[in-house]
């Protein structure tokens, strides 16, 4: 049996994962139309990292 506080933590991580997936999809869409220059590649990589850390607004 999972302890209640640990269960909350798991749920929170799952939600964070789902949010990050949604955000990464938005980032993919945003960059889909570009012939990526060096700047755009650097921005995309930074955004994905921020999304994975749960730091982006959605």
């Amino acid at each position: 049996m999972i302890k209640p506080d640990h269960k909350d933590k798991i749920e929170s991580n799952l939600n964070k994962g789902a949010d990050s997936k949604h955000t990464c999809k938005r980032i993919e869409n945003m960059f889909a139309v570009h012939n990526e220059n060096r700047t755009m590649i650097a921005i995309k990589e930074a955004l994905v990292k921020l999304a994975e850390e749960g730091l982006l607004n959605e």
Binding site: T39, M40, I43, A46, L47, L56, N57, E58
Partner: protein, 277 residues
């Protein structure tokens, strides 16, 4: 005269800059102006002075002691920063039609964040123009609000096209309309007697490399793009125009710096919604 020119010249007749702002601009351009000269002018408009004090005392500035007078606010923040707050309060009160889910507060949040980001980029670069950078970022898309309010049918058409085709509002306007929000912004800022430098940013930020070597259009170009990428408000579309390598070089941003830069922008703008309360 085209019907657009007729209509926009009527708009510039109706939509004038308040006398208080005109006076503040005149005072700031003079060398013998004191803080109390500007405070006297601001205090003649109770609504404006209340709004400025509210902004100055918001968590965004984080002063430990409450600032209770405009005079003191000017001494602490400086002439130009207080003028910027007055302009922010004025533009946020401009009329606006909600279209689909695009609300004025989301648009102004985007514009304020672009201003804050442009200010940060200019500070980071060590150039002495942070107040000009904020004002340029705040007003860079002012034409969107004018288009929304006074050409609402055209705005609605372009807005829906941009949403559907995943392009910028400007691209949609260029495709569908005889005019666009950049041209409208330029006309409005000229009619309000804003400095040439700020009008040039509004005119050139979307494609700075091809038209200017000045730094500010490049900084606002990047600030606009970073705020779009980070979804800091709503510019009216979900697109991210391609950002210029040249602008990045001019702003002194190496590719390896982008992650920490975006993180700093998130931090700098996290309290910007204080401006909207």
């Amino acid at each position: 005269m085209s019907s657009f020119r007729k209509k926009i010249s009527k708009v510039t007749e109706i939509l004038t800059l308040p006398d208080v702002l005109v006076e503040i601009n005149t005072l700031i351009s003079r060398t013998d102006t004191s803080a109390s000269d500007i405070a006297k002018v601001i205090n003649t408009d109770i609504a404006l002075s209340t709004k400025i004090l509210k902004l100055v005392n918001s968590a965004f500035y984080g002063f430990s002691k409450q600032i209770t007078s405009i005079n003191y606010a000017i001494v602490i923040l400086g002439f130009s920063a207080v003028r910027n707050l007055a302009v922010t309060a004025f533009v946020m009160d401009l009329k606006y039609n909600k279209i689909c889910d695009f609300e004025s507060k989301d648009f102004w949040l985007f514009s304020i964040n672009t201003g804050i980001t442009a200010q940060y980029l200019s500070e980071r670069l060590g150039i002495d123009s942070k107040d000009e950078a904020y004002m340029s970022g705040l007003l860079h898309d002012i034409g969107v609000v004018i288009l929304n309010q006074y050409f609402s049918e055209e705005f609605s058409t372009a807005f829906k096209y941009a949403q559907k085709n995943n392009c910028t509002l400007l691209e949609a306007e260029k495709k569908l309309l005889e005019f666009n929000h950049v041209e409208i912004g330029e006309i409005i800022l000229e009619s309000w007697n804003f400095p040439e430098k700020i009008i040039n940013v509004c005119k050139n930020y979307s494609n700075p490399d091809k038209v200017t070597s000045e730094i500010m259009p490049h900084l606002v170009h990047l600030a606009d793009g970073f705020c779009r990428a980070l979804k800091l408000g709503n510019p009216g579309d979900n697109s991210l125009p391609e950002l210029s390598d040249i602008a990045m070089r001019k702003a002194g941003i190496a590719e390896g710096d982008v992650y920490s830069l975006l993180k700093s922008i998130l931090d700098k703008t996290k309290l910007s919604n204080n401006f909207l309360q």
